[in-house]
């Protein structure tokens, strides 16, 4: 890294679908973010610090709020970006309660990256609801 450039934010991902774990390196990969780890469940996250955790809610066996608490008990109270196929009440509640920024998996990668950034800055992002929903 060149002197004067900010440190990239370290992103950890919880992704139940093993097939798509490698995809996160492409989605997250940029000069501003670096992928720290991809785990199948919150309990498999490395205990070392992440700046932000991306939680793919689909395929997990617990509600979003429970998963977020598991993440916090594992890595500390870091910002969470929840990604999901559908804006279910369960997922939207975590946004309403200020626990996570929410983005849909039908959003383009640039919008997912923006949501991760927003979570890292602990700001609310515009919800990435695709047209027609």
């Amino acid at each position: 890294m060149q002197q004067g450039q900010p440190e990239p934010i370290r992103v950890c991902v919880v992704e139940a679908q093993a097939l798509f774990r490698d995809a996160w390196s492409e989605i997250v990969g940029s000069g501003e973010m670096e992928l720290g780890a991809v785990a199948g469940t919150p309990d498999e996250l490395p205990a070392r610090s992440c700046d932000v955790v991306v939680l793919d809610v689909d395929g997990q066996r617990e509600p979003c709020a429970t998963l977020i608490r598991r993440i916090w008990s594992r890595v500390g109270k870091v910002p969470v970006c929840a990604v999901a196929m559908r804006p279910t009440l369960d997922v939207l509640a975590s946004r309403t309660h200020g626990e996570a920024v929410v983005v849909l998996k039908s959003a383009p990668p640039s919008q997912v990256r923006a949501a991760i950034w927003a979570a890292a800055r602990r700001e609310r992002a515009e919800q990435a609801v695709p047209g027609g929903v």
Partner: protein, 129 residues
């Protein structure tokens, strides 16, 4: 080269599916986030790779419709489903293979090579479900 039509509702993973199909020796004829039978028929693929976990339809009915409307297209189901009864229904509805999303990309590439070569794969996780 086997022409593959991909239905992947999780748009953010589309490029990864494209990479996996390519590494397995296939070529993606078309990719869609939604199931459009007319588009599949028009694209005339050899294989349709369907992520059936997020479709708004009954997956088994989707397979039934494909078998009726496009009998020459081999449907491959991509799923995290573990319930034995539902997996049996995929098979009886005409799925040519079932690939588990619990497998990593290297394993899925190996399985797709077999499938695209004309074989059938019933992922071990699916068989053990």
């Amino acid at each position: 080269m086997t022409r593959v039509y991909v239905v992947e509702p999780q748009t953010i993973f589309g490029p990864e599916v494209q990479r996996i199909v390519g590494e397995a020796g296939g070529s993606v004829a078309s990719m869609s986030p939604v199931l459009d039978l007319d588009d599949i028929i028009e694209a005339r693929p050899d294989v349709v790779l369907l992520d059936l976990d997020y479709t708004d339809y009954d997956p088994a009915e989707v397979l039934d419709a494909l078998r009726e409307e496009a009998p020459s297209v081999r449907p491959i189901v991509l799923t995290s489903e573990r319930e034995r009864g539902r997996l049996d229904r995929f098979r009886s509805s005409g799925a040519a293979s079932v690939v588990s999303k619990s497998a990593d990309d290297a394993e899925v590439i190996r399985e797709l090579r077999v499938i695209l070569g004309g074989g059938a794969v019933w992922d071990a996780r699916v068989e053990a479900a």
